[in-house]
């Protein structure tokens, strides 16, 4: 999480004893949860919550078999798209990389269905949709791929991120050359202006 601007100290637990479950959610097997393979305790080393334990997002929203929590499904889907992007980054040819990116693009409408998570979530998914639309199928550059991966990874860590935080991420998408606005949004204003000129 160091790249998110939060200063955290992580303590790795290779073969961890059972952590006390402060979320009181039932324990489930690793295969059924959305958690990362490496368990660790993160301690915030700055601010009013310095050295308070940072609860990993997968632990906070552990998937309980049979449950259908929106946020858990959103996290699972974000994990999938994140994995696709990692695969795209690893690909040694552009066509293979683009195949993985196409899967990400196709997952966006499903992710958009979870926009009730918050406007921050909705703004990022929506911006990515328009970014892909405006590319008209042109494959992402490696830089764009990295930025999208980083933004989605952060969204997964903080699905309820604020609008303010989301706008900053969208600005990062813009900085790497992605056009994140609806292609026809200026036309709407044009229509209004010409009506006023009458």
């Amino acid at each position: 999480m160091s790249d998110t601007g939060i200063n955290v100290l992580r303590i790795r637990l290779n073969d961890p004893p059972q952590l006390r479950d402060e979320t009181t959610t039932p324990t489930v097997s690793r295969g059924e949860s959305t958690q990362s393979p490496v368990r660790e305790i993160a301690l915030d080393t700055r601010g009013p919550h310095a050295f308070a334990r940072v609860i990993d997002i997968d632990r906070l929203y552990e998937a309980v078999p049979g449950t259908s929590s929106q946020i858990v499904r959103a996290l699972e889907l974000l994990k999938q798209v994140s994995d696709f992007l990692v695969e795209a980054q690893k690909s040694d040819n552009a066509m293979d990389a683009d195949r993985f990116v196409q899967r990400v693009q196709l997952a966006l409408p499903r992710l958009f269905a979870y926009r009730s998570t918050g406007d921050g979530f909705g703004v990022i998914i929506n911006s990515l949709h328009f970014a892909f639309s405006n590319l008209h199928g042109t494959p992402l550059t490696p830089d764009q791929l990295n930025v999208i991966w980083r933004v989605l990874r952060e969204l997964r860590a903080r699905p309820a991120m604020s609008l303010e935080q989301a706008i900053q991420r969208v600005e990062e998408l813009e900085e790497c050359g992605l056009e994140v606005d609806p292609p026809n949004i200026g036309d709407v204003l044009e229509g209004a202006e010409s009506a006023q000129d009458e």
Partner: protein, 262 residues
Amino acid sequence: MSDAYVETTVLTDILLKPKTPKHDRAKAALARYENTLLPVYSIKEWKAGPLDYFAYLHDKLVVTHSLRDTFQALSALRRGSYRQSTAIEGLTAAATVSMRYGGLGETDAEQADSYRLALESLIIRSWRKRRKITTQVVDDLPCYSEVEPRVGKDGLLDLKPQLCERDQECCLGPRLKLEPRVLEALRNAIPENSSRKEDQKRRKALKRLIKHPKEIVNRDTCRDLGDAIFAFFCPRTAVVLTTNLRDHQPLANSIGKRAESP
């Protein structure tokens, strides 16, 4: 090469019309000048005009949850104020385009939400970019606070303040009143028989400044002066850069200045 004194229409084209020829022209025009000057008056007009229009559109989407109803509402609003025209058809066409190339989701409600989020994002990002598009921001308005648009708890956008402080003389007032002959020339450049409301208001505001120099210039007069402010404050070494040459050219020329289109 002279400097560019950037007027509201150019600011709008750059900030709110991404991926349009107007946006590209405005960007290219700015690159032609060594110094590009953005007066804060442009920011004020932009926030109270085009940005406010987008905020209205956003809020209508919040209330109706429908892209179709929102555009119909806009058309109805226009019909109330203006005669049915090709412009309205243009607006309706924009709505059709929006439906066809719109955002995420298949239903009207989903499309509306996608558009709402896009507007929310564009409004806030464009606000943050406003002071970065020119080489300098000039002619600060101490009586006007630049406050970032925010989304309220009800989901509606709050763009206040859009006007200057109420109980304070317009900071431009004393400078304007120092040059009555310039004000007179600007007034004479506006056709006396113009049927346009903005022309009538501008002439009236200029007349008031000329005839009553001791009177306090309030925020309404400042707003009504509109285009005349650009001609008046544009430095001699600069041109007023605007897409609205029809209004700015005569004003600038009347006092020996120039207006150019991007």
